[in-house]
Each structure stands twice: as C-alpha cells, then as structure tokens.
C-alpha cells in the first residue's frame, strides 16, 4: 500500500516452487516476461495480485512471489474484478489458458471487456487443453486432431482479438512467448493502461500441440511494428489488419487513449483502496437510512 520506488530484482518476484510445467513449455516465457514487466515498473510484490485460472497456464501463480489466487476453472474475470474493486491500489493481473478464458470463461470475458476495469488479462494461448492432456480448445484450428476430435476439429476457432475489439475493448494486444522483449513491453503497456487490457499470448504446448509449434509461429506471425503506418488507436484499421492476417500478429493491436476504468465510473467510489478504510459507519447517516423505513 505504501508507494516506495525501490529497485526490485527479478528474484523478488520468484518463488522456490519446482517445475509444474514441461521443459520447453511456452508458459515459461510468459512468466519471465511478466516478472520482468512488474519489476521494470517497480511494482512491489505485495501490491501485485495474480488471479489465475485452472490449466497448466493457471499454475503461473505458483511461481510468482505476489498475492496469488487460484480460482475455479473459467472464473478469473469476476474474481479479478472483486479484487480490484476491493483495492484499486493493487496491480491486478488475471492469467489463464485459452480453454479457461474462451470456453468456460467466455461469458465473463465479454462482460469484463464491457465493464473495462483496470485489470490486465493474460491469456496463455496454446490452442489446446494442456492440463487435461490434449483436447480441442476454442482457439484450435479447424481440422486439428486431438483426443476429443480424432477426426479433426469441425468448429471455427474463436477470434478473440476481433471479438474483443467489436465488444468495445480498450486495449488489445498479442505477444509471443519466445519474443521476450516485445512481450515485456506489451505487459508494461497493458499494466499501465487505464482500463481492461487483453494480452493474448501465444504460448506453445510442446507436449500436446504438434502443429502450432515455435517453428510454426516463427513464420506465421507478423510484427505490427513492421507494418508501416499502423495506428493502434484506429479501430477500423485494427479490425481490418486482424482480418487480413487471420489474427496472426504481435504487438499492440488496439488501444483507446480516452479509456476510463470501471471503478472510476462507480457512483460514490473513492480514489483510495476500499480495503484500507475503517469499517465503522457514520451513525447519523445510518439512522437516517433506517428511519426512512418508518
């Protein structure tokens, strides 16, 4: 709660947890970039709250020295909202898988976008269900063969980035787990953005997804910085670019500079953290309310 500005070390954000992930898992890169981003922003570990989903990805909280809450499958968004509204002085980061966020959590995701609280949402997208050992996910490509689609997936993959923008998102970005420098920068911008930030992070599952591999993405992805004249504040350009590249881009795709976070719009909500205020009521005010029932 105190706003010191010490120079934190990366180790300040680490725990001594042993590996929950397979060697080479894309999630390691997401973790590293996130730790680097909060360090470079000099956010004290105790002021970071990670709200993680269920899945391999959801184990990210095990590795980060911060306040961590590991939710039920798909419910990161409302939990993060509760944390943020309880204490707006915290940096609240939700993180989870593509199944967690876009399958069971889809409804909450859309409503979070709509509300626009100052939360960063990191989707660790491996286009597969990792923890349950390789079933189809909402971002799996058509025709993708998995344990639950042995004849290939017949569903159109979700287009989370376009969908987010269409729904009114104020910050939409995509990173790649092995493109560390860009990813750190994206996280920093997402965290400092005043409103809801979606960072879809391509994070290959080396065990169950033998199609969408590191190599696959090395050729597939276009860095938005390489597109001349790309303007992330232009909504139409953002949508058209996503359509043209089938969402295979990295960088900050869209950002609405005039975004006002949900908590700023709540009637009567104050600038300090609700959690830090005393619980006692103004007795006279309470009496007045009670007596209105006479």
């Amino acid at each position: 709660m105190t706003t010191q500005q010490p120079a934190y070390k990366i180790s300040d954000y680490r725990t001594d947890e042993s590996s929950w992930w397979c060697p080479g898992c894309g999630d390691f890169g997401v973790l590293a970039a996130l730790q680097k981003a909060v360090m470079e922003l000099a956010i004290a570990p105790e002021n970071v709250a990670i709200v993680a989903g269920i899945g391999c990805s959801g184990k990210i909280g095990n590795y980060i020295n911060s306040y961590n809450i590991h939710t039920t499958h798909g419910r990161t968004m409302p939990v993060a909202l509760g944390v943020k509204l309880a204490n707006r002085e915290l940096t609240v980061i939700a993180a989870g898988g593509d199944g967690d966020g876009y399958a069971i959590g889809m409804g909450h995701f859309v409503h979070a976008l709509r509300r626009n609280p100052n939360i960063t949402y990191v989707v660790m997208d491996n286009q597969i269900y990792g923890l349950t050992k390789g079933q189809v996910s909402p971002t799996s490509m058509e025709g993708f063969e998995t344990r639950s689609t042995p004849a290939g997936s017949i569903e159109h993959p979700i287009r989370p980035l376009q969908m987010a923008i269409a729904t009114g998102a104020t910050f939409v970005a995509q990173g790649f787990s092995s493109k560390q420098k860009q990813l750190v920068e994206i996280f920093k911008q997402a965290i400092t953005h005043r409103g809801f930030s979606l960072v879809n992070t391509i994070s290959p599952c080396v065990t169950f997804n033998k199609v969408n591999t590191y190599d696959y993405f090395k050729t597939e992805l276009t860095d938005l910085e390489t597109i001349a004249g790309y303007d992330p504040t232009n909504r139409t350009m953002a949508i058209e670019t996503l359509m043209a590249h089938h969402e295979r881009v990295t960088g900050i795709i869209y950002r609405k500079p005039e975004s006002v976070p949900f908590e700023d719009r709540l009637p009567g909500f104050r600038a300090d953290g609700l959690a830090t205020r005393p619980l006692e009521l103004n007795e006279r005010e309470f009496d007045q309310i009670v007596m209105s029932y006479r």
Binding site: H70, M77, H108, M291
Partner: protein, 588 residues
Amino acid sequence: MLEEIVFKIGGEQGQGLDSTADTFATVINRLGYWVYYYKTFQSRIKGGHTDFTIRLGRERVLAAVPRVHVLAAVDQESIDLLSGELVENGLLLADAHFKPTAPSGTDLIAFDMTGIARELGNPIYRGMIAIGASAALLGIPLDGFKQYVAERFRRRSEDIVQANWSALERGAEEAMKLAGSRTFHMAPPPAEAGERILIAGNEAMTLGAMAAGCRAVFAYPITPASEVLETATKYFPRIGGLAVQMEDELSALAACVGANFAGVRAMTATSGPGISLMQENLGWAGICEIPVVVIDTQRGGPSTGMPTKVEQSDLFALTLGGHGEAPRIVLAPGTIDQAYGDAALAFNLADNYHCPVLIASDLGLAHWKASVPPFKATDVQIDRGPLANTDELVNLGRDVFQRYARTPSGVSPRSFPGQPHGQYLASGAEHGPTGKVTENAANRRYMMDRRLSRQSGTLMLGGEPVAGVEYRGDDKPEVLLISYGSTIGAVWEAATLLRADGMRVGVAQIRVIQPLPVRDLQALIDGAGHTFVIEHNALGQLAFLMRGHGVHGRVGSILKYDGTLFLADEVAGRIKDALLSEGATAAG
C-alpha cells in the same frame, strides 16, 4: 374493542394495489400498532391475481392468518378467491362500479368509489377512498392517515392534500352509512409504543450487512432476492461502498470471494437457482479459507419451480450441495430483527471461521414486512477475526508467512494484498501451510480436519457461544415444535393455540442449520413427549439433517409444499391429528 385485526385487499397485478396497501400499512405502523404485512403474487408482471394482507395488533404479530375482518376487493376474482377467509360478520368492501356479487355468508359494503373519485377530480383517488372506508370499517380513526397524506403531499400542493383528505373522509362516510353498527372496533395502539420501522427481511439484511462493515454487494437479479442488490445500490455508494449487478451467479459469488480475499467484506444474495450455480465456488472459498456471505432467499423449487411462493427446500443444497467436502456455516433467521442481526453475525462468523456463511432466508422473511424497533448501528460489533499484523509480517521477512499455519483453533491469521511479506497462494487445490500445492497424505488429513472442524460443535464468537437453537415455552413440554425461518411465526402462534387447549408446549427455533446444534436438540427432544419438525418442503429436510447428524427420538414431520403458507390453526390442527393417530392423548 379488538386487540388485533386483519385487513386484506385483492385485485389484479399491476393496478396500483400495492401502493394503496403500502400506505395503509405505513400509517398503521406509525400509529403504533404492530404490523405484519404480506402479499401473494404471481410470476408475471401485469394481470394475474395479487393480494395484500395487513395484520395489526397491540402486541407483536408475526404470521399469516386466514381470519380477515375487512376484505377490500377490486375485482370479482378476489371475492371468489378470498371471501372464505372472512371472519364471522366480516365485511366485504367493493367498488359498486364493477357490480360485485358476494357469496352468502359475507356482508357486502359496496359503493361507487370510482364515481366519487371522479367527483374529486381523478380516478386515482379510488385508493384513498378505499383506505378511508376500510379504516372506518375497522374502527380506526382517520387522523393518522390524514397526517401521513399531509406529510407526503404538502410539498407538491395543498390542493392534493385536501383532495386526499376528502377521499379519506368520503370513503369513511359512505362505508359507515352502509355498515352501520356492523363495523369493527380496534382498540387504540398501546400507549408505551416507541417508534418502529416497517421493513422487509431483504432490506433488513442489507442494513445489517452495512452496519457490519460490508461494503460490496455483487449479485444477479432473482425473485425474491433482488431487493438486497437494489437496496445496496441505493445506500452503499453513500458510504464509499459499491453494488454491482453481475452477469450471472457464478460471477457474483466469484467477485465476492475476490473482494474478501483483498480485505473487503462483500456478499451476494440469490435464490435457489443461483445457489445451485454457486456450489463450485462455495467449495472453492471453503478450501481457500476465504470468508464470504451469501443470502439464499428460498422459493418454490426445483428449477424455476414456483418463484413467487414460499418454500424452505434449499437446506440440502445449502448444507451439503457441493462436490467434495468443504466447510460452510448456515444461519436461519426467522424474524425481521433476527434478519438484521444475522446478516451482521454472518460477517463476524465468516471472518472468524474463514469460510462461507450462508443465510437461509425465505420468500416470507425476505418480502413480508413487519414492525420492528429501529435498527442501531451500535447494536452491531465488528469482529474481523485473526488478521496478520503488518509489522510482524515485515519482521518475519520473505517466504515465511504461513497463511495456513497450524493453530489450535484451525483458523490462522490472514494477510491482505498490499501487506509486505504477506504474499501467499490461495488455491482451490490442496495445499500446505504456505498455500503451496501439495498432495502429501499427512498434510491432506490435517487440512481436511482443519477445515471441516469449522462445521462441527458450537460456533463461538468473542469467546461466547452462538445460540444454535432458541427455546421458548413450557418446561418438560408434552409437545415440542421445531421450526425455522419465517415459518416460526405460525409455529409460535400454533403453540399458543395448543396451550389454550391445555397442552404443555415448547418451541425450538433453529438459528444455526450448520453446524446443527445436535446436543441441544437432543436434550430438548429427550425432555419432551412428542416432537414435530414443521417445515415448508416435501422431504422433511431439517428432520433428515437431524437424523443424519445423529439426533434420535420420536420425531414427526409436519410438511407443506404446495406454495401456500403454514397458518397457525393448521399447524395446531395437524399436530393434534398426529397425536391422536399416534394414540397419544392430546390434552384438553
């Protein structure tokens, strides 16, 4: 001079009957009578029958009754449906305009209210005319009504005040003319009457939560719980709090848990369908040891069921509904003042036991209004339970804080985000003392025992036990009646009726459904001749839970699950029948 009287008004939904009934009830309460005010309604917005009953007495009244003195009927359907409830010599008041026909055995007082209202300049005055007439027929002076009208409309215009006064007077005159000596005479209000408010359970619980320091409500609308969210949206912003309508019940509870994790007392309110949807997250809060308060306003189930009818059929879901085994405390207020108190108590228990505290409310408690002395913020003590001390945390240093440390009580201090070195992982997966996930068998045994110990034995708060059952009545009763929730009012009255028949009767109100006060209940049952559990459901849920927890003895069930309310006479009658058929001697 009557000590108690019942007034009822019936008609079609959406026709403004509610505001007429509200006015009547408000004034009666202000006059100093004790009021119990309830309605029936249907799951549609306009059309369909509705009726409002105002029972008023010189002593406290807490239940529905079928003995109506004056029935004001706005349509023929109301007469057909309701006139059977009239007492002997009961009066049926109707607008001659709709050409009412009254069944034999009722006394019709009909005059052209619509015509008079038009004379006064607006058909809207019909309601006030009916109030004036009803007051006259019940033998209640008009002064209180006039004063209220003046207070309410003076700011708008003196003319409106005058027109309303005329409406009241004209109604009274016409009614008296037709009723003559057939009117009732309500005794004046008790002299010592202090000020009272007239409030429903949903509002009382929201105020109780507020007084207890609850500052966030996340909820999803549902009948009959929506008023909790709606009341919170009115008042919470004034005190720096917030109330947010979420996209569903899953997210509503999830947000509450998030807020409580971060240190803010937060609650949600829902009804059966929402409780079903919350089962997973309730277990999650339980294993994470995060306090949270949930109000369940029970209604007719299952699924959509009968959403506007009273039922108490969520006890199983509340106590045992989730997969796996996680702690939950379940409280059961039965009256408005208990509702206020239990809402506050729930937060204190949650913060001391670090688990979900559920309030088993019901449609009757939530929606019906009753007179109560005004709530005081000072009646509520805030007890936040074990919290980590910021200075100690700092001294401890990094990686040492054990959120789930072994303690004698099984509850250990929690830290809040923002406290340096208080960092930990709250996880729905099994974990060790620091919150790290582990599948170690010995740890598992300890953690399960630790958590589940919260729901056995007697709840304690500030070193004092929390009463799980409240007993009222005779020593060594021949008949022990066990009940809970809003049904308790009818049961208390039934006890009075049975006593009038010469029986020794006791009533045990269950205040804590989980942990069930097993020992106290057993002692009461052992000390009684016959025991009956009275509840609004088909499976005898409380009786089942009692047996499950090992309570034994001669315990019968009196059940009702057809959407209609338990009435005192009915309860008394069914108990007498049960005693007779058991071959027992019902005294008197």
